[in-house]
């Protein structure tokens, strides 16, 4: 992965530190069947894709299955990526998160969820940190710290926990409307703190 650049411009479309500018270009090559480009995409994104699946699903085997499906989906539909509509990383991570959430909700339809606690960033023992994401993680954690406790908790339960917002409301014992606005306000504050391009 690229070395994080200190002087990164905030309006540089949606690319976070440590994740290459060339991801969109690589995807264009992947769309033409370029296996080497796909390997490069894999090396940049397999960690985040697997990581988000682990956050939501917990189970390593299921997470690996979902991660494989997501990465193959990236291979398959690279031609559908439209750089005008957002960054390559956001495109892939949106697919990954939806897949993980779809899976966890399908599982939950059969069995009740055991864990009711919001997972935190990188605290499990079996999580071995990737050096490259340390800065990402640090910034996200710092920005998460600038939110109100309720905003942060609601976002973590929704994003890392994979809970629907009515479920988040139930877990936190708050009205639906409150959770709805906390998630939105919190994400907007995160967006501004992270200087994500719009």
């Amino acid at each position: 992965m690229n070395t994080p650049s200190v002087g990164q411009q905030p309006h540089d479309r949606g690319h976070s530190e440590g994740h290459g500018h060339d991801l969109a270009g690589l995807l264009a090559q992947v769309a033409c069947g370029d296996h080497a480009a796909f390997e490069a995409v894999y090396d940049q994104l397999a960690g985040p894709v697997y990581g988000v699946a682990r956050k939501v699903l917990r189970d390593p085997a299921q997470s690996e299955e979902v991660a494989q499906e997501v990465l193959l989906e990236v291979w398959r539909s690279a031609s559908r990526f439209d750089p005008a509509r957002g960054s390559a990383a956001a495109w892939v991570m949106t697919i990954a998160h939806r897949r993980a959430v779809d899976r966890v909700r399908a599982e939950n339809a059969a069995t009740a969820r055991e864990q009711k606690v919001a997972p935190d960033l990188g605290t499990s023992e079996d999580v071995f940190e990737l050096v490259d994401v340390a800065l990402d993680r640090q910034r996200v954690r710092r920005c998460m710290g600038s939110l109100s406790a309720l905003q942060a908790e609601a976002i973590k339960l929704a994003y890392y926990g994979g809970y629907s917002y009515p479920e988040v409301a139930g877990l936190l014992g708050l009205p639906l409307g409150t959770v709805k606005t906390r998630i939105r306000d919190g994400l907007i504050r995160m967006r501004d703190c992270l200087e994500v391009s719009q």
């Binding site: 949606g14 769309a31 069947g33 296996h35 796909f38 894999y42 397999a46 960690g47 985040p48 697997y50 990581g51 956050k55 390593p60 690996e64 299955e65 991660a67 494989q68 499906e69 193959l72 291979w75 398959r76 539909s77 690279a78 031609s79 559908r80 439209d82 509509r85 957002g86 960054s87 990383a89 956001a90 892939v92 991570m93 949106t94 998160h97 990188g122 999580v127 990737l130 994401v133 990402d136 993680r137 996200v140 976002i155 929704a158 994003y159 890392y160 629907s164 917002y165 009515p166 988040v168 709805k180 939105r184 919190g186 994400l187 907007i188 995160m190 967006r191 994500v196 391009s197 719009q198």
Partner: protein
């Protein structure tokens, strides 16, 4: 149900973290089409959510890399023209597809490779006709709009690929890298539903590449596709623990 557009606008955050479900998701996606400012906000919040994902990166199992890269040779890519087709459908339709149905994994290249394999393995004209008929069914599954690829790793090594179409109620299964079973043993494929197991047939070993495809019919979401090692000729019921199980999902 009438919802104030102001209320709908407040759902941008929940939408960006995939926390909307059911009717509310449909209503919001309908609203997004008519609300450019909402769409713009959603885009920014999805970028933000992606940062949460990047921060959660973990090293995947090392074996995953080869499996994924290997599987790309069996997955046909969508043509660029699909961009317009999808755009014409609009975000709601597209999202509904991605939510309710599996993302279709079209696999013509895989189908072609599979058909060649199948044809190579038959000799007589009669066998060829049978194979062609089976191949038509296989091609139909592989090109089904709801076809979905699922992978399983065998405990004896190798990868099993299943393409499942809920609509066709059929699945096509191939294996690669599975060692040839020892003497007087075979791989047998089963559809497990609840406590019952139905034999689909035998699968060859495949250490030298992908096996010929096996078609399983009457497959429902939730069924397990399982392979066991059995005495030559196969058995009526599994006698050993599966070396791989794939849980079919819609």
């Amino acid at each position: 149900m009438s919802v104030q557009s102001h209320d709908l606008h407040l759902l941008t955050g929940a939408y960006a973290v995939d926390a909307l479900t059911g009717d509310e998701l449909d209503h919001f996606e309908q609203h997004l089409k008519q609300c450019p400012s909402c769409a713009e906000e959603v885009r920014g919040l999805q970028e933000t959510a992606a940062r949460l994902a990047l921060a959660a990166a973990m090293a995947p199992p090392p074996s995953m890399r080869a499996q994924v890269l290997d599987a790309t040779s069996r997955v046909r890519q969508l043509p660029p023209s699909g961009v317009r087709l999808i755009a014409a459908d609009g975000p709601r339709r597209r999202r509904r597809l991605s939510r309710r149905l599996p993302r279709p994994i079209a696999v013509a290249a895989m189908a072609a490779a599979i058909i060649v394999l199948a044809v190579l393995q038959v000799g007589t004209r009669h066998q060829l006709q049978q194979a062609q008929s089976a191949n038509q069914t296989i091609a139909s599954v592989l090109s089904a709009s709801d076809a979905r690829i699922q992978l399983g790793t065998s405990t004896v090594g190798g990868t099993v690929t299943a393409v499942f179409s809920q609509h066709d109620r059929e699945a096509v299964i191939t294996a690669s890298g599975m060692p040839t079973p020892s003497d007087a043993r075979v791989y047998q494929l089963w559809v497990m539903r609840g406590t019952s197991a139905r034999s689909v047939g035998l699968m060859p070993g495949s250490s030298a590449g992908a096996t010929a495809p096996v078609l399983a019919d009457d497959v429902q979401p939730g069924d397990e596709l399982a392979i066991t090692i059995e005495p030559a000729g196969g058995t009526r019921q599994p006698t050993t623990n599966p070396i791989v199980e794939i849980h079919t999902r819609p």
